[in-house]
């Protein structure tokens, strides 16, 4: 805006508006600024490498301990829940097969989780 075209009361306002337009139009090049900011960010919290194997081991120990201390409860619960699902009583062969499948699935999951970590 040409300040000569505005009246006396507006010339300063027009000059400030023009300065504002120039300010917003002028782009400050990044020149590594963003990288410097990212480099100064606090370190991301990381879990120690031993944490997951220890959790897996403790979970297995807890499961084994519960199984040893309450042998009948697990068998009853397992038989009842599977019977509910398949709608018929299970033989020992069926149970063994299911346990093997569950164990294989659990083992595969554990190995995958450990490798992903």
């Amino acid at each position: 805006m040409n300040t000569q075209d505005v009246d006396t009361a507006d010339w300063l306002d027009a000059a400030l508006e023009e300065a504002g337009h120039e300010h917003r139009a002028a782009y400050v090049a990044d020149d590594g600024f963003t990288a410097r900011v990212i480099g100064r960010l606090p370190a991301a919290p990381t879990l120690p490498a031993w944490r997951r194997p220890v959790i897996v081991l403790l979970s297995l120990l807890a499961g084994a301990g519960a199984f040893v201390s309450l042998p009948g409860a697990f068998d009853d619960a397992f038989r009842s829940s599977v019977a509910l699902l398949v709608g018929r009583p299970l033989s020992f062969t069926d149970i063994a097969l299911l346990l093997a499948l569950c164990g294989a699935a659990a083992w595969t999951s554990l190995v995958y989780a450990a490798r992903a970590n």
Partner: protein, 188 residues
């Protein structure tokens, strides 16, 4: 195929929920120019100081990103942090940059000495110099309302003061600027 640009809100969500530093980096890239140029204005053109304060601004923004409620624009929120960082720094060093000709002498009309400049360019130069003689709250009000194009209400949020104070500071600033830039008045 053109991809839809990711909004600030989406980037903020990624940065907050997943601690996505790439998302935060994109936010910095988008807003660094505005924040750095605002701080350059506030520091009277001290580029090194302004960039240090801009870094502090973005680090503070990162730490407090969870508190950003999306009630204001992200840029307005950043301006507020930047202004607080500037104030803290100014209090720390106990001095604000003063121009060489801050003794009350009217600013010379630049185009008289530099005829190659257009009138507008010369006025811009004189205006820049005149802005340096304003008090810090006056300059901050001018920077937020004119340079950052904020409304009085938004500027009041950024400057953490009542809207009336912003208006008063702008009025006082303009009075001072008219005194300093009197040679540019069409009546002169």
């Amino acid at each position: 195929m053109s991809s839809t640009p990711v909004s600030d809100a989406q980037l903020i969500a990624r940065a907050v929920v997943h601690d996505d530093r790439h998302a935060f980096g994109e936010l910095v890239r988008r807003h660094q120019s505005a924040v750095r140029s605002t701080l350059r204005r506030l520091t009277g053109g001290n580029i090194a100081q302004a960039d240090d304060l801009a870094q502090e601004t973005f680090l503070l923004a990162y730490r407090n990103l969870k508190t950003f409620r999306q009630e204001a624009k992200f840029s307005t929120w950043l301006y507020r942090i930047a202004y607080n960082v500037f104030l803290a720094d100014a209090r720390k060093i106990k001095e604000l940059p003063m121009p060489e000709d801050a003794e009350g002498e009217p600013v010379a009309v630049a185009d008289a000495a530099t005829p190659s400049l257009s009138r507008q360019a010369a006025l811009s130069i004189d205006l820049e110099r005149a802005l340096l003689v304003l008090s810090e709250p006056e300059r901050a009000a001018i920077v937020q309302c004119y340079h950052n194009d904020l409304s009085h209400e938004e500027a009041a949020q950024v400057l953490d003061c009542p809207v009336g104070t912003v208006k008063t500071n702008i009025l006082r600033a303009k009075q001072k600027l008219k005194g300093r830039l009197g040679a540019w008045s069409p009546q002169a």
